[in-house]
């Protein structure tokens, strides 16, 4: 009963905060609510035996990405943002699509079947989550891992090139 | 089955990739260092030429098989191989390509003023791709080279061309692409029919059903006829030639439009012998129309380059006529005429480029009395003019005579009508020469300087080749005998009934 209660709280909190994030007038508020949202998601990960990911969620998402968002919001200095309308003219269409998508996915999830069990997990190997993750990541997923690092490198260079002020040419 | 590469090293690969590597290396040169760019382009083109010379000296003229063969697996999943080789039909074009590129580099020496580096890089890339087209023995590789050549050429016309260069470049690109895409469909059909292989040699000895041959013949025809260009898909040529920079025109005339005729020889004829035989009257009709049509339209031109471009249509009509005469004389004449046309028309475009650098006008009316002002230049141009109208003792005569001989043997009317093209040819070329070089000196050409040493060096190889082929053509004809005979043997298995243009048009 306790796990269901915990899940109920976190699920409700995640959904409510998500809604708040996408509806706030002031982007700064959105970012701050998103911070709370991400903490909740991290907590959810702990329930799922994913300690490492929970930590990453907090460090990367909450610590890095959201701070970046916040910087940008402050950098752009959107004062008038709070005064004008939030939504595009065709917002009802967006609502219809989103709700439709939710209903469809909801229906389809009911009828899904679980696949075969995996071979590596804390339960099976008796080792910690991080050890298991590392084992898989540095053996089976070594090449994608390298690619991911390349993606990050490109992102760093790209972001700098794009955001820096144009030199007078 | 395959002839071994008698040289110890991969000569064809080196000839293809030296210019491409050269182009890559030239990327590293600073763009302000113009003389280094020019000299390195010249160096790489001459190096390629020297590398290609063993093809001339070590070629075994006694076999029709591919020589200097290279074969490596490339994409095994689709049975795609990197395989190269030349036979008596293609070897001369490799040599012609390497030679023409040198002249192109030389003639552009002072005439290209902007984006020098990119120009020479494009030139070297074209060279590599052109040679690749003539050497490829794998359809996939062939198609890659075939299309790869298009891009630098497109850029060459579109960036360094005349006032209407963008129109001309796009027209050129679309025309050739439409044809190529149909050929690609044909290649894929062959791939699956031939048991999933792109091997040109294997595919060329298979027997395809007649109805399939007909469809494939037209698919390949679309690509090759545009390139040649045959009537009525020739209208890209005058625009492209006219607007292209001199080097572009020379490569277009010298090599690029030969690829169409080469395609007929390498693919259409041996792959589809029945369909080719059946289509002979149609092809000959189109060729004869091209000969006369191209020649007559020259009489109405007021633009130097446009006139020479249309004369190309006429001359290439001779080539296709010789090819579809389907006898030894016609085929050998056709191949020789391809080389001749490359040399002569290339040289004419070089010459026009040389005078254009001085006057910046292509209008014939802006000239007159050039022979008085630039006598040495006039002498060169006279040689090219005479070669173009097929004067005996020069190369054009040998090719045209053999073609008319072959055409006449195949279809009398074709030989007779083609011969009238020679009359009109003399008329427009001499009239051009008269208007440009003779008569009163036009004030616009007064005081121009005669050709300098660089320009003489550019033109001299052409003159030498013109007389060499004219006086002793056997040097070049001897390369072809065995291969052409082999092709004829392959063709003789065709037994389909002949179609005429009228039958084809009215579905009789």
């Amino acid at each position: 009963m306790l796990p269901e209660l915990f899940f109920g709280y976190f699920a409700a909190a995640i959904i409510i905060f998500s809604l708040i994030v996408v509806t706030r007038r002031n982007p700064v508020h959105s970012v701050l609510f998103m911070l709370i949202l991400f903490f909740h998601i991290a907590a959810l990960y702990l329930f799922l035996d994913a300690e490492f990911l929970a930590a990453i969620q907090v460090i990367v998402y909450a610590g890095a990405i959201l701070v970046l968002f916040l910087f940008v919001v402050l950098l752009l200095n959107l004062k008038e943002e709070t005064l004008i309308r939030r939504y595009i003219n065709q917002w009802p269409m967006g609502v219809v699509f989103a709700v439709g998508l939710f209903i469809l996915m909801f229906i389809s999830v009911r009828s899904f079947l679980a696949g075969p069990k995996g071979e590596i997990s804390s339960v099976l190997t008796g080792q910690s989550n991080v050890t298991n993750l590392g084992t898989v990541l540095y053996t089976e997923y070594l090449f994608p891992f390298e690619i991911a690092s390349l993606v990050l490198l490109v992102a760093i260079i790209g972001a700098i090139v794009l955001a820096k002020k144009r030199l007078k040419s | 089955m395959e002839q071994m590469n008698t040289l110890g090293y991969p000569i064809l690969s080196s000839v293809i990739f030296v210019p491409i590597i050269g182009a890559i290396l030239m990327l590293l040169i600073k763009r302000t260092n113009e003389s280094l760019i020019k000299w390195s382009a010249l160096f790489f083109s001459i190096l390629t030429f020297i590398l290609s010379l063993p093809l001339f000296t070590n070629f075994d003229k006694k076999t029709h098989k591919m020589q200097f063969v290279e074969h490596h697996e490339w994409i095994p999943a689709w049975n795609i191989n990197y395989s190269l080789g030349v036979d008596g039909i293609s070897v001369l074009f490799v040599l012609l390509s390497t030679l023409i590129t040198i002249t192109c580099v030389l003639v552009s020496w002072n005439s290209i003023k902007t984006k020098l580096k990119e120009f020479y890089i494009a030139l070297l890339l074209i060279e590599g791709a052109m040679i690749g087209v003539f050497c490829a023995l794998d359809f996939f590789l062939f198609y890659i080279f075939w299309e790869a050549m298009l891009i630098p050429m497109f850029i060459l016309i579109g960036v360094w061309g005349g006032p209407r260069r963008v129109y001309a470049a796009i027209k050129f690109f679309l025309y050739t692409l439409v044809g190529s895409v149909l050929m690609l469909v044909g290649i894929i059909v062959l791939y699956f029919y031939g048991g999933k292989t792109f091997d040109i040699l294997k595919l060329s000895v298979m027997n395809y059903p007649y109805s399939m041959q007909l469809w494939l013949f037209w698919a390949f025809f679309a690509a090759f006829a545009v390139k040649v260009p045959m009537f009525p898909v020739h209208t890209w040529l005058p625009d492209a030639h006219t607007e292209a920079p001199t080097a572009g025109s020379v490569i277009l005339a010298g090599i690029l439009i030969k690829m169409g005729a080469y395609g007929f020889l390498r693919f259409s004829l041996p792959f589809f012998p029945d369909a080719s035989k059946a289509m002979t009257p149609v092809m000959m009709t189109l060729s004869v129309i091209a000969i006369i049509y191209g020649a007559v339209v020259c009489l109405a031109q007021t633009d130097l380059k446009r006139l020479i471009a249309y004369s190309s249509v006429s001359h290439m009509g001779f080539v296709t006529l010789g090819i579809f005469a389907m006898n030894v004389n016609g085929l050998e004449g056709g191949i020789l005429q391809m080389i001749n046309h490359g040399i002569v028309t290339g040289a004419l475009f070089l010459s026009v480029g040389i005078i254009y650098d001085r006057t910046h006008s292509r209008e014939i009316a802006d000239y007159g009395g050039v022979a008085t002002v630039l006598p040495v230049y006039a002498a060169f141009f006279m040689v090219f003019t005479l070669a173009s109208i097929g004067l005996p003792g020069m190369n054009g005569f040998i090719g045209e005579f053999l073609i008319i001989l072959g055409g006449f043997a195949a279809k009398k009317w074709a030989g007779v009508l083609a011969a009238t093209g020679i009359i009109i040819g003399a008329a427009y070329m001499l009239w051009l020469y008269q208007r440009v070089f003779f008569m009163e000196v036009n004030p616009k050409v007064q005081g121009l300087s005669d050709v300098n040493l660089r320009e003489i060096i550019t033109l001299l190889p052409m003159v030498i080749l013109i007389f060499w082929i004219g006086v002793y053509p056997n040097t070049f004809l001897s390369f072809m005998h065995v291969s052409v005979q082999h092709l004829i043997d392959r063709l003789n298995i065709g037994t389909a009934p002949e179609m005429t243009l009228a039958k084809l048009l009215f579905f009789k």
């Binding site: 065709q90 269409m93 967006g94 699509f97 439709g100 998508l101 469809l104 996915m105 229906i107 389809s108 | 679309l174 009525p232 020739h234 209208t235 049509y293 007559v296 009489l299 109405a300 006898n327 004389n329 050998e332 004449g333 009395g369 008085t372 006598p375 002498a379 004067l391 005996p392 003792g393 005569f397 040998i398 005579f401 053999l402 008319i404 001989l405 006449f408 043997a409 030989g415 007779v416 011969a419 009238t420 020679i422 009359i423 009109i424 003399a426 008329a427 001499l430 009239w431 008269q434 070089f437 003779f438 008569m439 000196v441 006086v471 002793y472 053509p473 056997n474 004809l477 001897s478 005998h481």
Partner: protein, 643 residues
Amino acid sequence: MKSYQLIPFLPLAAFVINILLGKRIIKDKAHWIAVPAVLASWVISVFTLFDVIGGKVFNEDLYTWIISDGFIVSVGFLVDQLTAVMLIVVTTVSSLVHIYSVGYMHGDKGYYRFFSYLSLFTFSMLMLVMANNFLQLYFGWEAVGLCSYFLIGFWYEKKSASDAGKKAFIVNRFGDFGFGLGVIMIFLTFGTIHYEPVFNAVNGIVGQSINILGYDISLVTLIALLLFCGAVGKSAQIPLHVWLPDAMEGPTPVSALIHAATMVTAGVFMVARCNPIFNLSHVAMNVVAVTGAVTALFAATIALVQNDIKRIIAYSTISQLGYMFLACGVGAYAAGIFHLYTHAFFKALLFLGAGSVMHAMAGELDIQKMGGLKKYMPWTYWTFLLASLSIAGIPGFAGFFSKDEILWQAYASGPLGKIVWFLGAVTALLTAFYSFRIVFVAFHGKFRGTHEQEHHLHESPKVMTLPLAILAIGAIISGWVGIPPLIGEFLGIEHSDKFGAFLAPVVGHPHAEGTHGEEIFVMLLSILFAVGGIITAFFMYIKRPEIPVQLGESMKTAYRVLWNKYYVDELYHLIIVRPTFWVAQSVIVGVTDGKIIEGIVNGVPRAIGGFSEILRRVQTGFAHHYAAVMALGLLIIMIFLIL
């Protein structure tokens, strides 16, 4: 290498040296290269002639020119009796013209160019006559045409000169068109184009025919007529004669060498060379004879009224060439070649004489503006007179023997022969008349030019009069090697027709069907006509100068037609030149290329462009529109997957 093989290559070497080094180094010393070369060729030719007289005939290949399947052609030389005669004619006239040009072209800025072209021409002409196969003949054929083009347009700054050169080349191409096809027919029929095997095999194809457009045409006739096409072009016979009068734009030595003595006779040479083919076709022979006869008369009538001294001589050349074809057409090839040989001397002399006159008159060509030149230029006058007597056919002179031989052979060769003989005889009368019209108008009477010209009048330098003198001797005695047996018997000379006998191994010997009486009649009639023509000219231009004017007024139409050369040029302009240009400009550029093909080519992309013009409105550029469409797509896919 045999010595005779040097004959063509010496002038070639001179050409190469002069054209490469002439501009910078040799300049006005060009004749020191060209003249010795051609003189050396002449010397070797003379030795070769003696070799041939001694019974040697050379036929050797130099190297193989083209090999393509069965089409194997060599460059080689055939020196037989016919070639030997031509060698002598070509090298002799060429040498003299070279020497003459040293004086005539003195100071011209294209001096070296002129001599290199002359050398090139000599080379080409020698290659033509020495060829042992049809393709090499064709090579020489086109090459002499090219030199003719160069030399006619020598003063290329003049539009008329460059026009004339171009016209000559293109009109010749029409003839060469037939000639080339003839060569191809020969190859396809015999499998070779070397003279010897072809002539040996030609008897085998008699009776064979070929189907062209549903008509059966005798193969041998077709080949002969196609070859004759070339001859018609090169030798300026009707209907391709139009280029020769215009060719007079070239320097006069060129007219003498190319357009009188050598190149234009190539057609006659070729017909004589191919006599084994022509002999087998009556149709072709008749065509040759009639073309020759009609041209002879036609050109002579035009010559009657022209005033340009060189054009008169040009028409006279066309007319005399007609004689030669007439002879060939009746099978009297030896007579035709004989006339070619004598004609070379007196016609070259006439042209060089005219050149001498022009030299003195500062380029004046109109005989009406001359007059009384006799006393200023005695050498020129006397040599010109001798040449005129020769061409008129006064007994004893070279022209008499050759012309008489032709007329008699024509008369004696059947009913058609009688007709062409009659045409030829009338032409003889006209020839005598117009030749002496020049003599009387230009050299006698009073000077009618400007004072300046009169002051300037002088005899030409030695270097020019010497060739005149040599040619004058030739114009008299060159005919003495071919004295008809009738006169020979009378004079007590045995085998007097040495020329005919010499050529007989190559061209055969026609047997004339006629009595001595008829022969005497023909001969006397031609003497009568010659003398009559001269007397008429004397009467009309010396005694009663007003008659020509009255005659011109009373027969205005005829005069105008002759003056305008029967409007042939205008006719060609109307039916060939203008329609071709109309098609080029209006039909092809305007309609087929401009509208139809370009219409389709540009129309397809335009249609695609129009379609995409509609489609592009979908691209609003708003990111949320794209996102919405994406979501919609996702929705649709999911609905499909679930349902």
